[in-house]
């Protein structure tokens, strides 16, 4: 009915103006020009596009370019952080969905959801208290001689890969656990019993029934945390602040917000979006399926 | 008040959910649309209520075309299968909901709500919320909510479908009582043949969006027009046969039957309770020998299944009244198919 389209119209207009056009602004600036004082001049008309900054961004991010090491570091950080998050998150989600019952389960779910009510920056800030020189965590870790093992002579907050990756895991693992929990909790207990009845060992039932059935939830959770990690610049800033641990997000942030390279930053943003497109499309598909849209 | 449906057609994509349905329903009639799921009965009801728009055809109420009106401007009211009670309102508020659009005074609202609640025997539950009621009580509220508006035609979409068997029977009796008391036209949708037979003045059996047969329950049961109707209402034997000059040919036997001018291949229909089981070798017309294949004990009767020489299986209902001869599978017997009980149908 046409009446309902009218209901949707203001919201769609809002999204068109402030989401679609905003994204196109990145395109227009990335394929635009700059004035003498380096203010970007967006080229809204595709026929007037200037590919100079895009070529520059491509050269920068290609092997041997100046952003290449940052790109590789970002990939490694995200890969390690996602792997660690899974290693922590899966057992937790599995335990809460399968073995916790009644009030204990309710309590655990509240505790698992609690980080959602504490702002991300607040949680990172808490770690800067702990890892600062003389902080509780730093003191304990140093007492265990872990500083000698993991650090390169600097403080825990002095540009350490370990600190940044730990920060990423700490920051994002709650967002992985909840979708994992949801997909594991949906698995019918009787399927596992049936597998055992048909001769599967406990481990066999897990491998042949639980793992395949939780695959979609796991992939969804991974994409859910990997996407924002690729755009993260505040975690490295708070946990290290050193260029040694800069991620792609820092490079983009520095170009767009600070430096004279807004056009280059826009081009880099486009490259990042293109790189993440597969993940975004996967997540989009999952969202549509889950919400039956 | 008479409701006329003329050549109703409703398509969903390529599917004709309602395919040229024409029915005339008289004032005060309890009319039932009966059929399996997907036969178009609910779609027909929704067309009358106005929830679906007609592709073609006309719906007239006492000569006035109502098909073009939106649901809230049609005088008919509906009792939903899910009851669709408003969970945020009390029972009394639910019942009073539609009176607001009837421009009646406050005192009048209170009086009519009270009467409607009395009619469905829910007087004491006015202040409850729907969520606090049992299924049967919710069903009564849904009924009162529609009845209070005194619609010329009440539409009921499987209103008893969600209730357990005993409650259904009680409510069937009550629905019929209310309908007769109010002399209101009911259009009732169900897939339950017992419901249709018990309450209705007339029943339209639907299949594939079309009306297969529309008549009084007794006629539908005893003189079904098609094999589908025969099967859907009660159980029936449908024996492959052929119409010849001599009569009805079943295998090598010729039976006497009213062939109704048919020729060629046909189905001989007879209700199991009309089949007589006789000893092997019994003489007389319309007797066919066979062998007992199975005997199913059902308490108040037995279902004896006899395989004829033609290969057809005939089910025979033997009442458990003490007079029956016990049969075992393998016994040779003879089935008597009385001519006045045989119906010849298209295959």
């Amino acid at each position: 009915m046409r009446r309902w389209a009218l209901f949707a119209a203001p919201g769609m207009a809002w999204l068109a103006a402030f989401f679609l056009v905003a994204f196109y602004a990145v395109v227009a600036v990335g394929f635009g020009n700059v004035t003498d004082v380096y203010d970007p001049v967006p080229h809204w008309n595709p026929l007037e596009w200037n590919v100079g900054y895009m070529l520059q961004a491509l050269e920068d991010i290609a092997p041997g370019g100046r952003t290449w090491p940052v790109f590789v570091r970002t990939l490694l950080y995200v890969a390690i952080a996602v792997a660690l998050s899974l290693a922590i998150g899966y057992p937790v989600a599995y335990y809460v969905s399968r073995y916790a019952h009644g009030r204990m389960k309710a309590l655990l779910l509240i505790l698992l959801a609690a980080p959602f009510w504490i702002s991300y920056l607040m949680r990172m800030f808490a770690w800067t208290n702990l890892l600062a020189d003389g902080g509780y965590a730093a003191t304990v870790l140093n007492a265990l001689s872990l500083d000698a093992l993991l650090l390169d002579g600097e403080d825990w907050l002095g540009g350490q890969h370990v600190a940044v990756v730990m920060g990423l895991v700490y920051g994002y693992v709650p967002y992985l656990i909840l979708p994992l929990y949801a997909s594991l909790d949906r698995i019918d207990e009787r399927l596992i019993e049936a597998a055992r009845d048909l001769g599967a060992s406990s481990a066999g039932a897990f491998r042949r029934v639980v793992l395949p059935l939780s695959r979609a939830g796991t992939l969804g959770g991974i994409v859910l945390i990997a996407l924002p990690m690729f755009g993260d610049y505040y975690t490295p800033d708070l946990m290290s602040g050193s260029p040694r641990t800069a991620m792609l997000g820092n490079t983009i942030n520095n170009s767009v917000q600070g430096g004279p390279d807004k056009a280059l930053g826009a081009a880099l943003t486009l490259l990042l979006s293109a790189f993440l497109l597969v993940f975004m499309l996967y997540y989009l598909r999952e969202l549509r399926r889950e919400n039956a849209l | 008040m008479s409701l006329a449906l003329e050549h109703l057609v409703k398509r969903y994509g390529d599917v004709r959910a309602v395919d040229d349905v024409s029915i005339e329903i008289a004032h005060g009639e309890f009319f039932t649309l009966l059929g399996p799921s997907g036969c178009g009965k609910t779609s027909t009801l929704r067309l009358i209520a106005g929830f679906e728009t007609l592709d073609s055809g006309a719906i007239t109420l006492d000569g006035t075309d109502i098909a073009g009106k939106p649901p809230h401007k049609r005088p008919v009211n509906t009792v939903f299968q899910s009851y669709a009670l408003f969970p945020h309102m009390t029972v009394a508020e639910n019942v009073a909901f539609g009176l607001r659009y009837k421009r009646v005074g406050k005192a009048e609202v209170a009086r009519r709500v009270g009467e409607a609640m009395e009619l469905v025997q829910l007087g004491s539950l006015a202040a409850r919320r729907p969520g606090q009621l049992s299924g049967g009580q919710q069903q009564r509220v849904a009924l009162a909510r529609a009845l209070v508006l005194e619609p010329p035609v009440l539409l009921l979409d499987e209103p008893l479908g969600a209730l357990d068997a005993r409650l259904r029977i009680d409510l069937q009796v009550e629905l019929k009582r209310i309908q007769e008391t109010l002399e209101m036209t009911f259009v009732y949708v169900t897939h339950d043949q017992d419901e249709a037979l018990t309450m209705s003045d007339r029943v339209a059996v639907m299949k594939g969006g079309r009306v297969e047969q529309c008549d009084e329950p007794r006629v539908l049961y005893e003189a079904p027009g098609t094999a589908f109707v025969a099967n859907f209402l009660g159980s029936s034997n449908l024996i492959p046969a052929a119409v010849t000059g001599d009569g009805l040919q079943v295998g090598e036997f010729t039976l006497r039957a009213d062939v109704n001018g048919r020729t060629g291949d046909a189905l001989a229909m007879i209700r199991p309770e009309r089949v007589r089981l006789e000893p092997h070798g019994s003489a007389g017309e319309n007797r066919v020998p066979g062998m007992v294949e199975a005997v199913v004990y059902l308490g108040f009767h037995q279902d004896v299944r006899v395989r004829l020489a033609s290969g057809a299986l005939v089910r025979c209902d033997v009442p458990n009244d003490g007079s029956a001869v016990e049969h075992a599978s393998g016994d040779p017997v003879c089935v008597h198919l009385p001519a006045d009980c045989l119906r010849v149908l298209d295959p």
Partner: protein, 269 residues
């Protein structure tokens, strides 16, 4: 079934690890001394009594708190009605363009925040320069990424309510506007409360968009304040600010929970 000791151990260690740092940071907010790395007695110095450095008396901290709340309030007021209408529209509208609209509605959810923030920043400094950066831009940003969440929450509830009650209301004579007001909106109550809460949480939590849309000191939010001074701030006043923020979030959650309990029973089991 045999129970492993390992799983509960991992779970509880995780829970402690995920929440203890924040609890310790809150503990430092009550320090008597200036340390942010060790506990030093108990006082409300950094909340209230310190004449220049407490949250109450340091204008940069107090205004960040105020600005975060203003942004969250404005975002709620705009995003929830806009998103509810969008949800109603998209749920019912099955015509040309509805498929594309459904996808567009989900895009903000799958786009990295940085990409969105860069886009909005470049837009407001170029073609939409008449809006410019500042509070308005921050609200627009927060509304844009909250909108999809509101739509998902409201649509989920619409599916649960089903179309029957709407049809019943129309059948009983209610014109479309009354169906919306007397039946649909009351039944959407829990979804609207959940939406308000979600928009509040998203807005309070957001750092990237707020930072990109900011235009100066008076548009600084709490997360921006934390970002700017986490490594520099010499006193636990920042911890006190964080504590206040957390208490406000929990209060909002509790309020929603209390309000939610008075809701009518679900339409169907």
């Amino acid at each position: 079934m045999k129970r492993s000791r390992l799983l509960p151990a991992v779970t509880w260690i995780y829970v402690v690890w995920s929440l203890l740092p924040v609890l310790i940071a809150i503990r430092f907010a009550f320090n008597e001394g200036r340390s942010r790395t060790t506990g030093q007695g108990f006082s409300l110095r950094w909340f209230w009594t310190d004449p220049t450095l407490s949250v109450r008396n340091d204008p940069t901290l107090a205004s960040a708190l105020e600005h975060s709340l203003v942004l969250a309030g404005l975002s709620m007021v705009i995003a929830v009605p806009l998103g509810t209408a969008l949800a109603l529209g998209l749920q019912r509208w099955r015509g040309r363009g509805s498929g594309v609209s459904n996808v567009l509605m989900l895009l903000p959810l799958v786009t990295p925040e940085l990409v969105f923030a860069v886009g909005l920043f470049l837009l407001f400094t170029s073609a939409f320069g008449f809006i410019g950066l500042g509070t308005t831009a921050q609200v627009i940003g927060h509304v844009t990424f909250s909108l999809s969440w509101v739509v998902l929450i409201v649509r989920g509830r619409l599916v649960m309510i089903g179309r029957d009650v709407e049809e019943a209301a129309a059948d009983l004579g209610a014109p479309p506007w009354h169906v919306l007001r007397r039946v649909l909106l009351p039944l959407l109550g829990p979804a609207l409360a959940a939406s308000l809460l979600t928009v509040f949480a998203l807005s309070i939590d957001d750092f990237v968009v707020a930072q990109y849309m900011a235009s100066g000191a008076d548009t600084t939010t709490v997360p921006m304040r934390i970002y700017a001074s986490a490594r520099a701030a010499p006193t636990p006043a920042l911890n006190a600010l964080v504590t206040i923020m957390l208490v406000l979030s929990l209060a909002a959650l509790a309020l929603a929970w209390v309000l939610g309990r008075g809701r009518p029973v679900e339409p169907r089991a």
